[in-house]
């Protein structure tokens, strides 16, 4: 599942790179910095990228996630620092979603 999420994030980033002026260097893989001191995104770029990822997740996996809520901002390490952290964060959210469904 992590690999699938990673592919989805990469798809969204490729789409982002063709739509916006900011370019995310995906060749660095999981280590690609997104937001923060080393990141290439400004705050608006991050908003646009998150919206794109949410939409691709919905298209590909049929799940509707909110990626940038209080939970994301309260993490010890921001999930938006680099691609690897973001993929891990989405993976954890997905696992929680699945356990909620199973509980019902």
């Amino acid at each position: 599942m992590r690999e699938k999420i990673s592919n989805i994030v990469m798809t969204a980033i490729k789409e982002f790179n063709t739509t916006y002026e900011q370019h995310i260097p995906i060749e660095l893989g999981d280590e690609t910095p997104l937001f923060g001191k080393k990141g290439v995104l400004d705050s608006l770029g991050l908003v646009s990228l998150i919206v794109m990822i949410e939409q691709v997740l919905e298209d590909e996996l049929d799940v509707s996630l909110i990626l940038a809520d209080e939970k994301a901002t309260s993490q010890k390490t921001s999930p938006f620092l680099k691609i690897g952290f973001l993929v891990d964060y989405i993976y954890r959210l997905m696992e929680e979603e699945i356990s909620v469904w199973t509980d019902q």
């Binding site: 739509t19 608006l44 646009s48 919206v51 794109m52 949410e54 939409q55 919905e58 509707s64």
Partner: protein
């Protein structure tokens, strides 16, 4: 531009129903929603049964729109409810209902619509406020407060969405003879209309005229504005 896709909330009756017909006749594909199914149908119109303040059903509706049409050009946030009462007699359940529909509903539809619109870097959003806010009408404290929130919300998100070439404006109608004012005493309405520069009831055509203006492609330099009818 391809056939415009226009989403209108609260489309079962009143102003919403009129706007559906108005934009279908202009060649738009019109999508509408309301809590109950309408007792009418129209070629070029699709209806969803949705409570505008229910996040899950609203998101499901937008997922369906995205899958079916892939885009959205216009959002007209018409759904709204009112309740007239002295604030000291107003139960909190009424406050919740009014804020849920008028504020949370407007927020949810703007958020989901903007996500669809930003991809194509084009969009027009029109929110509905009321003259009850600037006129500070007694007996309308909660309704006016909820619609004042819509004005502030419109002004702020207009700035947040400008990088995506999405405009967001509000219209503030005067009383129009619809169900919304059915329970308001006639003398109250007469006093209200007397405070307008142009002393008559508004019409659905007056509303459509302003919405037309905000939706025009040429209105790309107009955002964050509230236009009150009747000279308020």
């Amino acid at each position: 531009m391809d056939r415009p896709i226009t989403l209108i909330t609260g489309s079962r009756k009143g102003i919403g129903k009129y706007l559906v017909q108005h934009y279908v006749y202009q060649g738009h594909l019109v999508i509408g929603c309301s809590r109950n199914e309408p007792d009418w149908s129209l070629d070029g119109y699709e209806h969803y049964q949705v409570d505008v303040s229910d996040e899950n059903t609203v998101r499901a509706m937008f997922t369906s729109i995205k899958k079916k049409h892939g885009r959205l050009d216009h959002l007209i946030n018409n759904a709204g409810i009112a309740s007239m009462n002295h604030f000291m007699l107003t139960p909190v359940s009424t406050v919740n209902k009014i804020f849920n529909t008028n504020v949370i509903g407007t927020f949810l539809f703007c958020r989901e619509a903007a996500k669809l619109m930003q991809k194509r870097r084009y969009g027009r959003i029109v929110n509905f406020t009321t003259v009850a806010a600037p006129l500070k009408l007694e007996g309308e404290s909660i309704y006016a407060a909820s619609k004042a929130a819509v004005i502030s919300f419109t002004e702020v998100i207009a700035r947040e969405l400008s990088p995506y070439d999405i405009t967001v404006n509000s219209i503030g109608p005067t009383p129009i003879e619809t169900d919304l004012i059915r329970s308001v005493p006639k003398e109250k309405l007469a006093a209200l209309i007397n405070r307008q520069a142009i002393k008559r009831y508004g019409t659905v055509e007056d509303v459509a005229n302003v919405v037309d203006f905000f939706l025009k492609e040429e209105s790309s330099f107009i955002t964050g504005q509230t236009l009150f009818l009747g000279g308020v």
